[in-house]
Amino acid sequence: MSDAVVHVRGLEKIYKVHERETGVGATVRSFFKRKFKDVPAVGGIDLDIERSEVVGFLGPNGAGKTTTLKVLSGLLYPTGGDATVLGYTPWKREYAFLRRIALLMGNRTQLVWDIPAADSFLVLKQIYGISDADFKSRLDGLIELLELGPLIHKPVRQLSLGERMKVEFAAGLLHGPEVVFLDEPTLGLDVSMQARIRRFVSELNKRTGATILLTSHYMDDIVALCKRVIVIHHGKLLYDGALADLAERMAPYKVVGATLRDGAARADLSRYGEVVSNDGAGRVKLRVPRAEAPARTARLVADLGDALADLSLEDPPIEDVIDRVFSGEKLQAVAS
């Protein structure tokens, strides 16, 4: 038995989807005999998450991220494999388990729209059996962290999307979950609200020690919150490790940034690497194979001499790495 808070082995989820061709004949036939297709959403992944870790779950639409979260929170039954969360089998949905986890999904409302959130909180207090003292201290903490003060006394339907998200967060966390599954927590929010939610999630982890598994399309969320990331694509695990190592492991290239003095702006640098951008004013970016980066950079310096005003050698931006991984370009699956 693993000590990990989240322990997953060979998890699979296959959806059965009704499939029908277009046309009158196919429509008539589908009345009598339906054809179903198996669509694998999660194709046998393994992972372990330790207590108090904040882990980013990355993947394009349809990669299987949300399905995995739904299985781990007990909402879906898997087709195969095994998983435990806090020692419980999630899909048995024991009440003792449900009291210790939370699944927060973007802008999906858990609150009653027609009454103020404060009244919904009182209902949740009774459902989760939260003591008066815990309820007060947690609510006070959430009000402070999320700046909820005036919001919780307005009917939920009168709140803006961002405000509603914040009270949703509070509703989902009132019972003090030890494991929090966050699915696209900043989806649709403006930049300032995104930053606030990020600060809140980080503070939540620090204050309560909650283990957090987070999916997001915004790399800023991942960079701000997660030291570790798990990358899945077509339901398969591609990478599980430090965010800092992701570029090194997944992208077989580095980016050379060269700033050229007047007169050299039109110089052809393609012999040193693939030209990614050239603004015509002297700033050029090159993509060079990772293994050859030092030698090519040295040759560039030697060849250009005084024409070179500035030079940098960096890992590619994380968004580019992820984009290239998901588009299948120079894919190096290095799951470990």
Partner: protein
């Protein structure tokens, strides 16, 4: 005790929510009693045309039957099967499934809130109809005593049956047809179109073999006072039997349905 506290909190929130939709609640209530009133008017017209009675049912008997049927309908009616489809298709069920409380409790509370808030208005309407049509009740004190368990069993049966129909939403995206089928069956077999006693014998036999009459027509006969002690016993036994069957089916359907749930939309 924890469940009692939870119910108290849910009821409070339910009443607050209902207060936002007072007009809608009243319209639903009127919708629920309009059918018995239409049938009452039709039977009164027929009875009057036939010299004041149809198969021994006088105008006053019809009035008593349909007023009692309206009461019973109000007390047993649940909208859970319609609401559940919406919750499944919108993914709203997910939040409920992830809380340590069976989703059925939310429906029970909604049901109680609806009944309590609309009952006073219904009472006034039915008293007026009763007086206007000269309703003739044959109710004895023992009928009232037996009516209490009978209406509770009928409401439970209606509710559980509704949840079985509702659970079809786990597999079928649109299950309104199942609801419509249930409504049409109730139309004939629950005693809505006419008291079952006035139907052909073969239709009566079918009504007694199906669950619908035990939900509405049977407790109506008890409240109206036309049921003999033997018939009341037959009704109670039938209600208990159907409730056991429906509850067992519900348990199986729910367990399998939740496994099939794909949490679309949430």
């Amino acid at each position: 005790m924890a469940l009692v506290r939870t119910y108290r909190a849910l009821l409070l929130a339910g009443f607050q929510q209902m207060a936002q939709y007072r007009i809608q609640s009243l319209l639903w209530m009127l919708f629920a009693i309009i059918r018995p009133v239409i049938f009452l008017a039709a039977w009164v017209a027929i009875a009057t045309a036939q010299g004041g009675a149809v198969s021994g049912y006088t105008v006053g008997d019809f009035a008593a039957y349909y007023v009692c049927l309206a009461w019973v309908t109000q007390l047993v009616m649940a909208w859970n099967s319609q609401e559940f489809e919406w919750e499944v298709n919108q993914g709203r069920l997910s939040a409920k499934l992830l809380r340590p409380l069976h989703p059925i409790h939310y429906s029970i509370v909604d049901n109680i809130v609806y009944k309590v808030t609309t009952l006073p208005v219904l009472a006034v309407i039915l008293i007026v109809i009763s007086v206007a049509f000269g309703a003739h009740y044959q109710t004895q004190p023992w009928h009232v005593v037996v009516f209490v368990p009978s209406i509770i069993l009928a409401a439970a049966l209606f509710f559980v049956f509704g949840y079985i129909v509702a659970s079809l939403a786990f597999w079928a995206t649109r299950m309104r047809t199942a609801n419509t089928l249930w409504q049409r069956a109730s139309f004939v077999f629950a005693g809505q179109i006419a008291p079952v006693a006035l139907m052909p014998v073969w239709l009566q036999a079918m009504a007694y073999g199906l669950p619908f009459w035990y939900m509405q027509g049977a407790p109506t006969e008890i409240l109206q006072g036309t049921a003999t002690p033997e018939r009341a016993a037959f009704i109670l036994v039938g209600q208990v039997a159907w409730l056991i069957v429906c509850y067992a089916v519900f348990r199986v359907v729910w367990r399998r349905g939740v496994r099939a749930y794909s949490a679309v939309g949430a």
